[in-house]
């Protein structure tokens, strides 16, 4: 019985009961919570502008992934063919066609990495410049 009592006494000495009052860790936790809340809720004018720009961009419509994926492997060959066959110098005697070819060449260069746009330009070149592609 004495041994048990001694053990209980030694435990009581080793683990003193916590004193009532403000706990430091609780205060730190509360401060952290307030900081997080303030950061979450703080929303300046720049944030609103950001959100507006974001909404506009997300409304821009569908992205043609098929075209994006096919373009790196097929656009370059089509571009080379088109830019060669639509060169304005090939239509030198005809000023109207030369003007058209010049316009087409500019658009072909702009669409160098866009297969779909190049295919459309190819059709346009066929009909307007009357060339075989």
């Amino acid at each position: 019985m004495d041994t048990i009592q001694n053990t209980i006494d030694s435990l009581t000495v080793a683990m003193p009961t916590t004193e009532a009052g403000p706990n430091v860790w609780m205060i730190i936790a509360v401060v952290e919570f307030i900081v997080i809340l303030v950061l979450l809720l703080s929303r300046g004018k720049s944030d609103d502008a950001k959100a507006r720009a974001k909404r506009e961009v997300l409304k821009e419509g569908e992205i043609d992934f098929g075209n994006i994926i096919a373009s790196p492997f097929h656009a370059e060959a089509l571009y080379t063919e088109l830019i060669r066959k639509c060169h304005p110098d090939r239509f030198a005697p005809d000023k109207e066609k030369m003007e058209l070819a010049n316009n087409l060449s500019t658009r072909i260069t702009q669409s160098r990495r866009d297969l779909r746009a190049l295919q459309n330009l190819k059709e346009e070149a066929k009909t307007k410049l009357n060339i075989n592609l």
Binding site: R43, V57, I68, F73
Partner: protein, 132 residues
């Protein structure tokens, strides 16, 4: 009440962003797989979300997963020129680049399944918001 509304909007926005990002990656991977299976392209591309380059950060950047990585399964080391063409094609699409930027990506990385080099681009240099 306004505070709660604000907080609620932020939470909703976070979930919407997550969904939009996942949809974009899924859409890319689905199209890449279909193009490869149909024989349209000789290389299978796969997009994933990775850690971006911290020096490329911008105002929309996500804290951790700000990199958009495209892995090309070619079975061989692609040349730098081939990797560059894939990257330039993606960057030439203004709509895609703008969407990637506002959804929190700041780095585009391209590399292949074989070899030890790839290319990366800073996305924010290539956007024109409000001017499509």
């Amino acid at each position: 009440m306004a505070i709660i509304q604000n907080l609620w909007n932020r939470i909703l926005e976070w979930f919407e962003d997550r969904q939009s990002r996942a949809e974009l990656v899924r859409g890319f991977n689905r199209s890449a797989k279909e193009a490869f299976v149909a024989g349209v392209v000789p290389v299978m591309l796969e997009a994933s979300i990775v850690r971006g380059d911290p020096s490329y950060r911008h105002m929309y950047s996500k804290m951790f997963d700000s990199g958009f990585r495209i892995k090309a399964f070619a079975g061989r080391q692609l040349s730098k020129q081939e990797i560059k063409i894939i990257g330039e094609t993606i960057l030439a699409n203004d709509v895609l680049v703008r969407r990637m930027v506002v959804l929190g990506w700041d780095t585009l990385q391209i590399h292949c399944d074989v070899g030890n080099y790839g290319c990366q681009w800073r996305l924010f240099d290539l956007i024109r918001i409000g001017n499509s």
